[in-house]
Symmetry: C2
Subunit: 777 residues, 2 copies
């Protein structure tokens, strides 16, 4: 018989909004990973300064040890969002670590130094309460045990849901906060009783390095490791990180809960609420975790502390696991009240210990009445509750049904559990080797995702890159308009609106309008003695030929306005007669009703990215091309080049694939080539005339090599138009020291930043970081 | 025989560019007008402070007297431009004078106070050299004579023209500056000899108030005036404002010129170059008019000082006159060198005096050889030169041919001259009455042109208005891109780019983008506790009806997205059922594939124009309407209302005419009316639902009456989005004290400013001035 709270379920079922709200809620994750060297030793380097002061970055801090990164997601409105958030944070941290450092993927450490050499997290202020607390823990519990890392899962119901439930289910004189306290206590009580099941299903730490601790019955494994026989989670066992005494508290009433914890503090068993290492805690976001403020303001969310890092997942936890934990908590809400037996805490503790140390052997589970039930039977009873309320409230949700089915199979068959699979991997590859391989693979995944912010792939790459940098530096991101790539970034009490990564409050409006207007741009640059190619647009033959004196004696190009392939173009690099000038205009007009006469500036095109007073990146842009090897056809060479994982289509990746369309065919034919020709070895074949990255062009980072003269010129041009963030296109002559021959082609007010961040060749420039630093300097 | 420099003419004729350059050049005007009361008395008020310090405003200063406004055009590249410039300045000054002050339109004053009560121009610093110079003049010449006002005409050839001429005509070892000096001296010499003709054709001051001066032979006229018999120009006669001694100088060489003036200074005849009141002066823009710097840097332009104010023209001078003066100077350039007789200065002075005092009688003109020639013969000889070189160099230019023909007719027939016509008017109406009527008509013209900047009618009204305000306040205006209304404003060493009047450097880029985005705007305002109507856009029926809980209990409008005429709209002002909600959505979808559900905010729409911390204007906007009189049809009432000279079409005037198109017909039909119906007296009939000024709506300035609460709200909204120049649209409820019912509909980042400057009802708000003050505060 499945014991669910039929009244609650009926109420919820009667209101489609409540059903929807039941399955939403607010989610947050906190995850710790030790930083390790390629050999699996604890990295003794400081917490990477790129993350800023750990006191201020809300997303990336250190836990107990300086070598123990803690990632904290913002509060998310769905499991999927929080999964993406922790994955993004994991990627961000992985890529920002010093070269050859990795995130250790297990809750149990790899190679660690002697107790005295384990570094406690360093704070700017030596008297920082966080530092003092850690020093207290080091004395009280030892440092080693503090290195056990895990995941905290924070959860609250949607307020609308609780309000609706309150309307129908409040007891007499009960306030809304009283009701919330009661509801969260009910869930906590369920959790306490049945947490053995969650540990069985999420535990992933059955092994540890010899010398880390001593657990009787653990077996030797390769690489000086020990494996708990049939074990699941060292961290959740009595050998894990727990209060010295079992601190039982009263879950029946909120007052009782508060008073029982107060008594533990009074007795000196713990110093403060913060030291109450219960597997689940009732928490309040207003507080600095003091019992007083919890008592006063009441419960706002639950913190589940017993989740192990899962080394089988690159980010430490599977999305299905996150959903399952949510369902587990909902089961607590929807279970019958009287199903929870009183004073079950020692029984639950015993079940937890058994499962943590030998869960894979399916030990019997002790019931409230001290009777024992077969493991699977006990587990399936709880699974059946989930199935039952899902059938009632979410009959069409196949995804959640599968989530439950997956765990159900694990309840039945221990070999399918995470712990069993981790044990298997360790036995096969060795404790260190398995985890280090996993760590390196995880790093490679992070690198492959470097330009993506998971869950924001619908936004522009430059916005995704800025978002990653924002989190890296502890800057909060609100999406104001997704389709428009409109973000608000907040650090401390300073907010900045950012649209499309580089449209910010730093630039003034009219200077953007000036950059948008080629006539105005050229005029202003020329007034500042900056060379710009003189150009004219003509629609009348008679007017066009009148401009001969203007261009006479210069190198010029005459072309139809809309040409892209060199058709109808005449280039005069030397003296030309008026007759030749007129003839060239005639040719251009034969291809378009509008023609351009422009000074020709020989040289290569470079993009300078200016922010404020600095050039933060310089890129050389080369038209789409392949280099022959004397063996492959142009088509084959294009396909090889397009294999680069950074090349994609539709601007979804930092570089674009080279196309094989009419433009490219024509460009080849002008060189007497086709896609089927085999170019000689070393010969560069261009497939486009224009150098845009968006048409398959190559980008080469030349920031460090660039002559300061041109960097100064770029900044000068940007200043001339009073721009702050500006993409300056400069043609640099074949002899770069021939400074006077250089010219500025264009100023761009919303310069692309991703092409600097992920160039075809050369170092990545962290343009996202530069933008964040620039906005919040 | 016409004596022209055939070599010059042949050179110019051979080069089409030189012909074009000959007829261009640089032009500037300086014009003085006395400020007078409606009775013709000198206005003794201070120089209007709206013009800023006279030391700093380059366009509007005072001449000798505080009551003598001096208008100075920028250097213009054509006669037409300089004509427009002086006309605009005249309009700007006219409209900025204190109420009931006018610009006296004659060179000779109206009623003036006793010598001691004539106010000398006041400067911030009592020791200002301009003040000290004026005090010197008052002592040396008396104040009264200083009130004679006139026009200075500054001219220089285009540098390209002079360079081309230099190539072919330089003498051995001659530098370009030597050449320029020589050319300008040649023109000056021609001018000195033939200036009697220019005075005859431009003189307009034959009369003066009794007591102003004494000229023998002057006749009494009505209103205590005196008229010179057959006189032309008191100011250019020996009774005018001249050096005490005739200061003859050497025009043969530049050195001679400099030395001869130096000698006059040495002799104490004048204090400095500044006091050299020659009818033409060779000048240099680098200098503060010192002889030393002229000697050093050479001549850059000519200043012609003998032009009288023409009271027959509302701006003081006809465009044809300006062109004629130009041709007169070109005649000087193109005349044969040897045609200029040596030591002709006393002869020229005598001719000048004769013509100034009795030119209408066509006195004989004395030639170099002291022989006398009949007046018309002498005049026609110079006119024939002009005709001759125009035939050679501009045979197709009918306009210039007409300019010459007009003056030729005046040479033949004195009654056609300006002086004759002015004499006639004075005799007919009286000296004071004629000039005061002229002054008032000129003011009315200025008022009718208040919203226009002559010569910039192709630009937006708001840009024209800003331009006028800029000049009023001494701010230089460069047009960077005409079609885009892109200006650069400069005051002192500070420049500001301004596009479309309100797009400036003061606003930051992303805040403009936030205003452009309704979603972002609403979100930010709501976060600042500012009420915005909640609205949703739907394309799916199923999704639309899901929003019932969001809107239930509110007043709402449901409408097809593209409706304008009320079709398919449902308004719920009270409780509505879900069924009614769904039905309204169904109706809306039957008219459009996209529908809007919006909170309905009852009340009137107001536009608040915010700049920085201030609301500078508030406008109530009322949809196009007419008020019945029980007599006329709607059509007749519309036509009456459209007669308002401020109503035009295509945004060329501040208000738009009410149309009689399908929208208006439909709107009438919804009220069971047609254009042929006669609405009862006092009944307001609306022809549009929307209140836009662009569809004939009325604008009512309510700036002063507006409740401060709403002004504060507008500023708060603008600050919330970090806007600086912002148009805030607020719906104010029927009871304006019901503050909580008000809501902000929209924030506009390029708010129209002309509708505040020229409202349908209420005072004009000088929004152009506000923008200038805001930019340069």
């Amino acid at each position: 018989m499945i014991k669910l709270d039929s009244q609650f379920i009926a109420q919820i079922k009667s209101n489609p909004h409540m059903i929807q709200q039941l399955f939403s809620g607010h989610f947050g994750l906190e995850k710790e990973n030790l930083r390790v060297t390629p050999s699996g030793n604890l990295a003794l380097t400081p917490h990477p300064p790129i993350f800023g002061p750990k006191e201020e970055n809300p997303y990336i801090k250190t836990d107990f040890s300086e070598s123990q990164v803690e990632m904290i997601t913002p509060v998310c409105d769905s499991v999927d969002d929080v999964y993406n958030a922790i994955t993004n944070l994991h990627h961000i941290v992985s890529l920002a670590l010093p070269k050859d450092e990795y995130l250790w993927p297990n809750s149990n450490p790899g190679l660690i130094p002697d107790e005295e050499n384990i570094p406690i997290a360093v704070y700017r202020n030596k008297e920082d309460s966080s530092r003092l607390y850690r020093e207290h823990l080091a004395t009280e519990y030892g440092k080693k045990i503090q290195l056990l890392s895990g995941i905290h899962y924070n959860f609250s119901f949607s307020d609308e849901f609780l309000k609706a439930l309150f309307q129908t289910s409040r007891t007499e004189n009960e306030t809304f906060q009283d009701f919330k306290n009661r509801i969260y206590l009910k869930v906590a009580k369920y959790f306490m009783k049945n947490r053995w099941l969650l540990i069985y299903l999420t535990g992933a730490g059955p092994a540890y390095m010899e010398g880390f601790t001593t657990v009787s019955g653990a077996e030797n494994a390769a690489e000086n490791a020990r494996i708990l026989k049939d074990g699941i989670s060292l961290r959740n066992s009595s050998a894990g990180y727990k209060n010295k005494d079992a601190l039982h508290v009263d879950y029946d009433t909120f007052d009782g809960y508060i008073h029982s914890i107060a008594k533990h503090i009074e007795n000196g068993q713990i110093n403060s609420m913060r030291e109450f290492y219960n597997p689940i805690r009732l928490k309040n976001s207003h507080t600095d975790q003091s019992l007083e403020s919890l008592a006063q303001k009441g419960v706002e969310y639950l913190e589940i502390r017993s989740i192990d890092l899962n080394p089988l997942e690159e980010n430490g936890i599977a999305k299905e696991t996150l959903h399952f934990i949510h369902l587990f908590l909902l089961t607590g809400l929807l279970s019958e009240n009287n199903e929870l037996c009183p004073n079950n805490q020692q029984i639950s503790d015993k079940n937890e210990e058994l499962v943590a140390l030998s869960g894979l052997a399916h030990p019997n589970i002790t019931e409230c009445d001290h009777s024992e039930v077969a493991f699977s039977e006990a587990g399936l009873k709880e699974i059946a509750k989930m199935e039952a309320f899902l059938t009632e409230l979410a009959p069409k949700n196949d995804y959640l049904a599968n989530v439950v089915a997956l765990q159900k199979a694990r309840v039945v068959d221990a070999s399918k559990t995470i712990a069993a699979r981790v044990t298997q991997e360790i036995k096969e590859h060795g404790y260190l080797t398995f985890h280090l391989n996993t760590a390196k693979t995880s790093f490679e995944t992070a690198d492959a995702f470097a330009y993506r912010f998971i869950g924001a792939e619908d936004m522009e790459l430059s916005t995704q890159i800025v978002w990653k940098s924002a989190w890296k530096k502890g800057v909060k991101v609100d999406v104001l308009d997704r389709a428009e790539n409109f973000l608000r970034l907040t650090l401390g009490n300073k907010s900045e609106l950012v649209k499309q990564a580089t449209k910010t409050s730093k630039d003034n409006y009219v200077s953007v309008l000036a950059m948008e207007n080629k006539v105005v741009t050229k005029q202003i640059l020329a007034e500042h003695q900056i060379r710009v190619p003189h150009g004219e647009n003509h629609t009348q033959f008679e007017e066009a030929i009148m401009s001969y004196p203007t261009f006479s004696g210069k190198q010029i190009v005459i072309k139809p306005k809309s040409t892209n392939y060199g058709i109808g173009i005449s280039i005069f690099k030397d003296f030309f007669t008026k007759e030749a000038f007129e003839e060239a205009i005639k040719i251009a007009f034969s291809h378009d009703s509008s023609i351009m006469i422009e000074e020709f500036i020989p040289g290569d095109e470079y993009r300078f990215l200016v922010m404020g007073d600095d050039v933060v990146a310089v890129l050389k842009r080369i038209p789409a091309n392949v280099v022959g090897d004397g063996i492959h056809t142009v088509r084959e060479l294009v396909e090889q080049k397009n294999d680069d994982p950074l090349r994609g289509t539709h601007h979804l990746k930092p570089l674009e694939k080279i196309q094989q369309g009419p433009e490219e065919t024509l460009m080849l034919s002008q060189q007497n080539l086709s896609f089927e020709d085999v170019p000689p070895s070393g010969k560069t074949v261009y497939l486009r005339e224009n150098s845009n990255i968006s048409t398959g062009g190559d980008s080469i980072n030349v920031t460090d090599q660039m002559d300061d003269y041109y960097k100064d010129l770029a900044v000068k041009a940007s200043k001339a138009i009073q721009a702050e963030i500006c993409g300056v296109d400069i043609i640099i002559p074949p002899n770069p020291k021939d400074y006077d021959s250089a010219a500025i082609i264009e100023l761009n007010f919303n310069p692309a930043t991703h092409m600097h961040a992920f160039p075809y060749k050369g170092e990545r420039v962290l343009t996202g970081d530069k933008i964040i630093d620039y906005l919040f300097k």
